[in-house]
Each structure stands twice: as C-alpha cells, then as structure tokens.
Amino acid sequence: MIYEVFRQERKGQAFAHAGSVEAPNEEFAEAYAREQYGRRGESTALWVAPRDAVHEIDDFADELRKNYHRVDGYPLKEKLGKARELAAKGPRGLSAGAG
C-alpha cells in the first residue's frame, strides 16, 4: 500500500506533502516515514495517511463574474480620483481635510 507523508519543517509552519512510502500497514508506514523524512532532524512532525484517503480536487467553477468577493472586483482608482477632485472644489459645504 502507498502512504502519503506530509512534513512540518518547523513548529508553526504548514504541513507540506513530502513524498510517499510503500508499506503493508500503518505501523510500518509510520516507521518508514519517520526514517525517510525525519532521520536527520529535518522535520518537527509528520502526518502519514493512506494514499486513497487523500482526495484531490482541481476543478473549480467560476463562470458568472464572482469578483464581488475578491480584491480584483474593486478597481477604485477612477472613482477615488473623481472623489478627490470633487472634494478639492469646495462647494456644497465640502472641503478637503474637513471632518
């Protein structure tokens, strides 16, 4: 069976996929992962999981202009320019720097 191994290099960091080992069961997989990814103190922690427990998702639907909840949905440059111009003119009781 193939087991995937994820390693954390230093405390606080994310666990990243490190590789895989072949083993008959969880116990062997842990022993082998420990040696292959930790014998030199290069990892503070490992996660070991059977390959078929890990599911990949790589398709996402983003068809209908969903930029309302992303930063690129807010190009403010033009509006900001006009608002500043308007404030600088002063009428309607507005003046730059007030309030």
Partner: protein
C-alpha cells in the same frame, strides 16, 4: 507532432510544470520514465562500490558518515522509483530491467573501488559531478521529480563535505596517504570527465527539448571543472590530463574523453558491471520471501 503535443511542448519550454495526473504526450512520458529510471538505478547501483568500505572504515566517525551516505543513496532510489511507479512503471519491473541489463545506470558505478583513497575521491568528486546535474533537475518540467530533487540535493551536500574531509585528512597525513589520494584521482579522472555525457548540443538533446533536463551536457561539465579543478589543484594534487586548462574565453579545455569507453561501460561492459548486477540479483532472490510475507494483504 499534433497540435496538442505542440501546445504541451510550448508549455514546458515556457517553464510550465506538469503533475502526475496531467495529460502528457506519449513521447514525454516515455523519455521521462527512461531518464528518471536511470537515475534510480544509478543511486541503487552506486551503493555497491561504497558498501564494501562501510565494513572497513578506519574510525567510528568515518564508519557512521559512510553508512549514512550510503543510506541516503538507498533513500534516494526509494524516492525516485516511487516517482517512476506513479508514472506507470512498477518498482519490481524497474529492478527486473536493471538486473537483466535492459536499463542503464551511470558509468561511474561500473568501476572498482580499490583503496580508502577511492572512498574520499568518490564522495568528493563523483558526488560533486552528480550534484551539478541534480541542481539543474530542480527545474525539471515534471514537478514530482523536481520536488524530490530538493531533498536529494539537501542530503548530497553533506556527502561532498564528508568526501572533502576524508581527502583533506589524508593530504595532511603521511606520504603514503597522499599517494593513495593521487592514485585514486588518476583512476577516477577519466570516468569523471565522461560522467556528464558526450557534448551534443542541448537543442539536439530530447531530454533538454522537453525540459526534463534544464542544462546541456557540456554546460554541466564546465560547471564541474570550474568548481572542482581549483579545489584539486590547491591541495597539490595533479589532474592526469596535461591539456587541462582554462582558455582566454574562460572555457575549460581538456583532452577528448574516451566516448567509446563510456558507451561500452553503460551498455553493460564495465569492469564491475556483471559482478554488481549479480549481487543485486542474488540479494533480491534471497529476500523475495520477505517481500511476499510483508507486502501481502495486511492482517
């Protein structure tokens, strides 16, 4: 080449990365498997010349360092064969092809190690030649392979230091020890110069075209000479090539390596090829029962 293949080629040549489940042209997959498999074979066969010296290391420190180095090489072959397996060729078939001689491994692992001088020279210079190629592979278009190269390069860095330490200690020792180093260097220089392969231009090298390799053979060799000839000369060692020098254009010039020897050796006719493949074959047979017992359906 059809449109889809051309698109893929443009993609990898533009620096694109490929994952295991991505579509890839048959030719790319085949070349990839062949290249990566040869690397795995080389790590596994590279173990054998050094193993002999694990049992004859003259201090506890050297014993530990050499055992750890060889352990790393076995570990590398594990990483590499896993990548090949995920591309579609199981480990056992790779081992079948290695043992039968159908697939190849690098020239340097077909030669004998005669003295403790060899142990130092190999760890220092053979590993150095290998790490130059391996650093270039960090940019391989096939991402799973590029990723394991990071771990491999990290582990190799201690190998070179260990090799250099062994050599320096001998160079600071007795005349006999210095002679051991020089004699080993004299024997290993030829294979080292052949290691990076004959100087076909990278545009003619399919491995470069598909961006499996990111550098040409001659480029790698020049880097090796640049890095290591000064290190050799500064110790008072001589390189057994009277033509070796850097010219006005900063290019290393040298006697033409024996490309016939390289071809003979990698096609299975090196001095130690048969003996080492035989050792692989017998140890594999002797432990087959263990794999059957262990890899059988877990209880």
């Amino acid at each position: 080449m059809d449109a889809r293949e051309q698109e893929f080629l443009d993609y990898v040549q533009g620096g694109g990365q490929v994952e295991t489940e991505d579509w890839m042209p048959d030719e790319y997959r085949a070349k990839l498997i062949k290249f990566i498999e040869m690397h795995g074979n080389s790590e596994l066969m590279g173990v054998l010349p050094e193993r002999e010296w694990i049992l004859r290391a003259p201090t506890l420190q050297r014993k530990l360092a050499l055992t750890a180095k060889v352990q790393d090489e076995v570990g590398h072959s594990q990483l590499i064969y896993r990548v090949v397996e995920d591309l579609g060729k199981p480990r056992e078939r790779c081992l079948d092809d290695l043992i039968s001689g159908k697939s190849k491994f690098h020239n340097v692992f077909h030669y004998p190690t005669k003295t403790w001088g060899d142990v130092g020279v190999i760890a220092w210079l053979v590993d150095a030649a290998a790490i130059i190629s391996q650093k270039a592979l960090l940019k391989c278009s096939y991402a799973p392979y590029a990723r394991i190269m990071k771990k491999i390069c990290w582990e190799e860095s201690f190998h070179i230091l260990h090799g250099r330490d062994v050599v320096l200690t001998m160079m600071l020792g007795t005349d006999e020890q210095r002679e051991l180093v020089q004699e080993a260097l004299d024997r290993w220089w030829g294979p080292l110069m052949q290691f990076h392969g004959n100087p076909i231009s990278r545009e003619e090298d399919p491995m470069y075209v598909w961006r499996i390799k990111s550098q040409g053979n001659e480029e790698a060799r020049q880097q090796f000479l640049d890095g290591y000839v000064p290190q050799i000369w500064e110790l008072g060692l001589t390189v057994p090539d009277p033509k070796l020098r850097k010219n006005e254009d900063d290019v290393w010039k040298y006697s033409e390596p024996d490309w016939d020897e390289l071809k003979r050796v990698v096609t299975g006719h090196g001095p130690k090829t048969a003996e080492r493949l035989e050792l692989r074959r017998t140890s594999r047979e002797e432990t087959a029962w263990v794999r059957r017992a262990v890899l059988a359906e877990a209880a």
